[in-house]
Symmetry: C2
Subunit: 332 residues, 2 copies
C-alpha cells in the first residue's frame, strides 16, 4: 500500500431524474386527504416516480452524465461503488449490474455499500481511502433509489415524503495545486432506534416466499416522532465533536448539504444546531426525500446552480435508518 | 487523515454453526434422487441449516465468540462492517441490527458491504484501510448467511451445494514487532456473467408485492457450467498478475483458502492454477458453500485446527456472483 501523499476529489456529478412528476395534490386526492395535507405535513410539493427503468438503469444514466462531465470514458472507470438503500435484486450486487448496463468494458472493481440514507457518504469516504491506497484510480460512486414501489399509503405522512432519483460522482486524485479534497468523516449508529425505520421484507427475516410475510412487511415504515427524539438527543454532541475535531467553526462552511429527511429535521439545523439559513442547501420541496440519493442530488443541483463552487468548503450530514448519524466534509 | 505507518491484522475469529446438520442423503430422499446423487455432484456430504435464529442473531453469536477470543468487550468495538450476500431485511443495514443484538453499547460505525461471495474479503480490506486512516480502532467484520431459505429444489445441483453459517473477525492495528498484516488485494468484475448467478427478488426489480413476481424469482439460480467457463477464461491471468504484483511465488503461501464454490471450482486451483494439494484449505465436504461466510469459515476452522498459525502467509481467493474475481493476501 502506498503512502498517503495526495488528496482525492469529486471530479464531476451526474443526475438522473425520472420524467414523471407527482404532485402532493395528486397524492392528497389518491389517498383521500384534504388538498394541501401532504405539502403541509411534509414540506414536499412534488417528487419524481420512476415508472420503467430498473435501479441499475437509472444509475447508468446518472453515471454516463458524470463520466461525460469528467471528460472521461467508461473505460477510465476502474471501481464502481454503490451506496443505495434498497437493491435492484438480492444477487448480484447493483454495481455489477451497473457495470453491465454501462456495457463495453469489464474488469472494474464492483461492490455495494449499505448504510441506508447515508450510503453515498460512506461510499464516497471508502472511494477516497481506496484511491489514496492505490487500490483504484477513477471511482464511480452512486446512489439509485426507487422508493415509489415501497410506500405505504396508510402511513401517508412518511409515504408523502419520498421520491426517486439516481446520482453518480466520478472520484479521482486531486491534481496538484487544486484545493479540492474529500476530508474527514464520522458515522455513529444508535441501534436503540433500529426499529424506528424499517423495511422488514426483502431478506431472510420475512422471506418473500414465506406465507407468513404480509404485504405491509414489504413497505417502508417510519416512526417520525421517535426518530426525531432519538436524533435530537445525540446530534448536537455528534456535530460539536465532529466540527471540533476538524478544527473548524460552523461559519467556515460555504454550504451545508443535509439529507433531505423531512422539513422538521431540516429546520433543526438552524433552530438547534447553529447554522444560518443561507448555509443550508435544500431541495426537499421539489424532490422529496430520495433516501441515499438525497444528499448527492442536493449537492449536484447546488453545483449545477452555481450555489456551490470549486474551493467551497462543504459539510454533508444527516441521519439514516439505524439510527445512524453521519457527517463528511469536503472542499468541492 | 494520519499517515500509514502501521499494519493491521485479524486479532481473532469467531464462528456460529447452526446445530441442525442436514446430510446429502436426506436431500437425495427429499428431492427424489438416487442415494448418493447430491454428494457425487457437489462434493458436499452435509451442511447446516438454520431453523430459528435471524441473520443478525447468527452474526451476534459469531461476534461474541470473536470478541471473547480477542480478550475484548463489546464496548471496545468501534466499527461493525458486514459482508453478507443476502440481508436480514431491506432497511436498516444488518450491522445496525447486529449492534442492537450485541446490546449494551451504541455509537459504533455500522455499515454493510455487498459483493456476494467475496463480501468478507472486501469488508476486511475496507476495515484495514479505515484503521490505517484512523477512522476506527477495533473493527468487527462479519458474514452471516442463511442460504437455506432460498434454495430451489428444481435446481438440485446448486441447491445441494449451500449451507448456513456466520463468522466474525476482530480487526485491529498490529502491535509492534508482530509480522501479522492484511496485505494487498485485487477484485475485478466481469459483468457479462451478471446473470449467471442471480436471486432476482428481494429488491426493486421483482418487488415482493408485485403480483407478477413468481416464487422462483425469490430462489437462488446458478448456471454452474457458464460460471465455470467465464471464471476459467479470466482467473489464470488475474491470479498471475496478483501474485506477480505482490512479488510472490505460489509456494510462498503456507495456505490458500478459496471460496468453497463447488468441488469442480476448487479442483482447478491444483489442476489449472499451479497450487499444490497441501496448500488448499477446504471444508466443502462438511459445510457446503456458505456464500460470503465460506472463506472466513474455512479460515477460522483452519486456524482452530492449527493448520494456519501466526506468521503464516495466507492467500484468500475466489469468485462471486457478478462475476467477480477476488484475492487478498495476509500474514495471519
Amino acid at each position: 500500500m502506498k503512502d498517503i501523499t495526495h488528496e482525492v476529489k469529486i471530479a464531476s456529478l451526474g443526475v438522473y431524474l425520472p420524467p414523471t412528476v407527482v404532485s402532493s395534490v395528486e397524492l392528497d386526492r389518491q389517498w383521500g386527504l384534504r388538498e394541501g395535507t401532504i405539502l403541509r405535513l411534509t414540506g414536499v410539493a412534488e417528487r419524481r416516480y420512476e415508472r420503467s427503468q430498473t435501479s441499475a438503469g437509472m444509475a447508468a444514466k446518472a453515471a454516463r452524465a458524470a463520466i461525460d462531465k469528467a471528460d472521461m470514458t467508461i473505460a477510465d472507470i476502474d471501481a464502481i461503488i454503490g451506496g443505495s438503500a434498497v437493491p435492484q435484486q438480492a444477487i448480484p450486487c447493483m454495481s455489477a449490474l451497473l457495470q453491465r448496463e454501462l456495457g463495453e468494458v469489464e474488469g472494474s472493481l464492483c461492490f455495494d455499500v449499505n448504510a441506508t440514507c447515508l450510503g453515498f457518504l460512506i461510499a464516497l469516504r471508502l472511494a477516497s481511502l481506496m484511491i489514496r491506497a492505490g487500490q483504484c484510480k477513477h471511482a464511480l460512486v452512486y446512489s439509485s433509489e426507487k422508493t415509489s414501489l415501497s410506500l405505504n399509503p396508510k402511513e401517508w405522512e412518511s409515504a408523502g415524503l419520498f421520491g426517486d432519483a439516481a446520482v453518480a460522482a466520478v472520484v479521482i486524485r486531486t491534481p496538484p495545486g487544486e484545493p479540492s479534497r474529500i476530508g474527514a468523516c464520522r458515522f455513529q449508529t444508535h441501534s436503540s432506534g433500529a426499529h424506528l425505520t424499517e423495511l422488514l421484507g426483502g431478506g431472510t427475516l420475512r422471506h418473500p416466499n414465506d406465507p407468513a410475510t404480509r404485504p405491509e412487511d414489504n413497505l417502508f415504515h417510519m416512526d417520525g416522532p421517535g426518530i426525531f427524539r432519538l436524533a435530537t438527543k445525540h446530534f448536537g454532541h455528534f456535530l460539536e465533536s465532529f466540527i471540533g475535531d476538524a478544527a473548524h467553526e460552523r461559519s467556515d462552511y460555504e454550504a451545508v448539504v443535509p439529507h433531505q429527511a423531512s422539513r422538521r429535521g431540516l429546520s433543526t439545523l438552524t433552530s438547534l444546531y447553529g447554522f444560518s439559513d443561507s448555509q443550508i442547501v435544500s431541495n426537499l420541496h421539489e424532490r422529496g426525500n430520495c433516501i441515499a440519493a438525497s444528499i448527492p442530488l442536493a449537492l449536484a443541483e447546488a453545483v449545477e446552480a452555481g450555489r456551490i463552487r470549486r474551493g467551497h468548503r462543504v459539510l454533508l450530514l444527516g441521519t439514516a435508518a439505524g439510527l445512524t448519524l453521519g457527517a463528511l466534509e469536503l472542499v468541492f
